[in-house]
Symmetry: C2
Subunit: 226 residues, 2 copies
């Protein structure tokens, strides 16, 4: 598939790297290509800058949000939650129309320190904000409930015996995303229902963040035992 | 232990029944004893009324919130979230002082229909509201992330191979509650930290409710795979 990954941080790198490995054609989208290529220091989380990662992934093209989206059948939203709507606006509604959006972003608000709060929740969600803003985009929320390494390689923990959720209004789009998740190694993909069910998975972040503190590692995941 | 269970609904019945079975002395607390004993119809969830349950549990005494709390070392808050502060106020601050409160209530707001929203979240929690209102009470949030049958008998699902969380400011109170949970059959009790971490577990309810819809059963639980 021709896939655009919007976002050059740890999540974008993990997704782009894995998708290329699986044989997809991948373009990473960014706001400002020269600025991204000029980065030399680690990001706020201590991850190496995009140019360092790009050196070991020569098959991945870097382009503007709009160029990346225009060529893609499926778009991955791997931007920070606070920047997601602006990134998609920069991509352009005409370049999003009819595409599937795998939305991984979480509406985290770090303005009051750590742990972050959520800037939208309970009666609305970031996924719904995106769906409302771009009605011709087929938004599927998934993967936002685990760390980036587990997103793309779930077998590295307990042989992949844990769960991932999908939420979205378009059944075919959910089927495509589910297939992609299974190609990553996910074995328990739970379809929660329409896009409003993303409220549930976005609201998992507060307990996820506290679990990371209590367990002293981000290497864990939720399994729905039934 | 001498234990008060505040609340006569399904959760209160499940807790009281299991605690008596384990040899504890249990008093169920209610707002209005004659009114509770006069109930003949099922509750809003279709569960039998308290008097029917009480017939098969003659060892469990029914008393006012205040009488039940006064005699107890540990108090279980099994009231509806919207009624919890009023029930504890009726119990009386002097009857709560120094006691451990195992708080199971969730801040569910059904006023806008199903699924319910949360009337407190993200920057505060019901557990914290209770702790602030009754500073001498040792509040421990736990068990609010699963159905009542699993709370008291986790082995009925996957041999008990799933997780339960505790949040609270008092280490000894958390130790007592952890012991109680283990006596129910819980094997993976995760201490998330202080009482503010209850924000995380109370915010699990939105995904729990959507999972119940998607799986068409309340018989599931979260396991933290790590």
């Amino acid at each position: 598939m021709n896939i655009a990954v919007l976002g050059t941080g740890m999540v974008g790198q993990a997704l782009a790297g894995r998708l290329v490995e699986l044989g997809h054609t991948v373009t990473v989208g960014t706001r400002d290509v020269p600025a991204t290529l000029a980065r030399t220091g680690p990001d706020g989380m201590g991850n190496p800058p995009y140019p360092v990662w790009a050196q070991s992934h020569p098959q991945v093209r870097l382009a503007t949000f709009a160029e990346a989206a225009a060529a893609a059948q499926l778009i991955v939203n791997a931007t920070t939650g606070t920047a997601s709507l602006a990134a998609l606006t920069a991509a352009g509604a005409q370049n999003l129309a009819g595409r599937i959006l795998l939305d991984i972003a979480n509406p985290l608000d770090f303005s009051r320190g750590f742990p972050p709060t959520l800037f939208v929740k309970d009666t609305d969600s970031l996924a719904e904000q995106i769906q409302r803003e771009f009605p011709e985009l087929k938004v599927v929320k998934a993967l936002n409930t685990m760390n980036a390494h587990l997103m793309v390689d779930p077998r590295r923990l307990a042989g992949g015996q844990h769960s991932v959720f999908v939420s979205g209004d378009d059944a075919d789009a959910k089927k495509t995303v589910t297939g992609l998740l299974e190609s990553f190694g996910h074995t328990d993909v739970i379809d929660l229902g329409d896009i409003t069910t993303a409220r549930g998975t976005e609201m998992l972040l507060p307990v996820w963040l506290r679990l990371m503190g209590a367990l002293n590692t981000p290497d864990f995941n939720f399994k729905i035992v039934r």
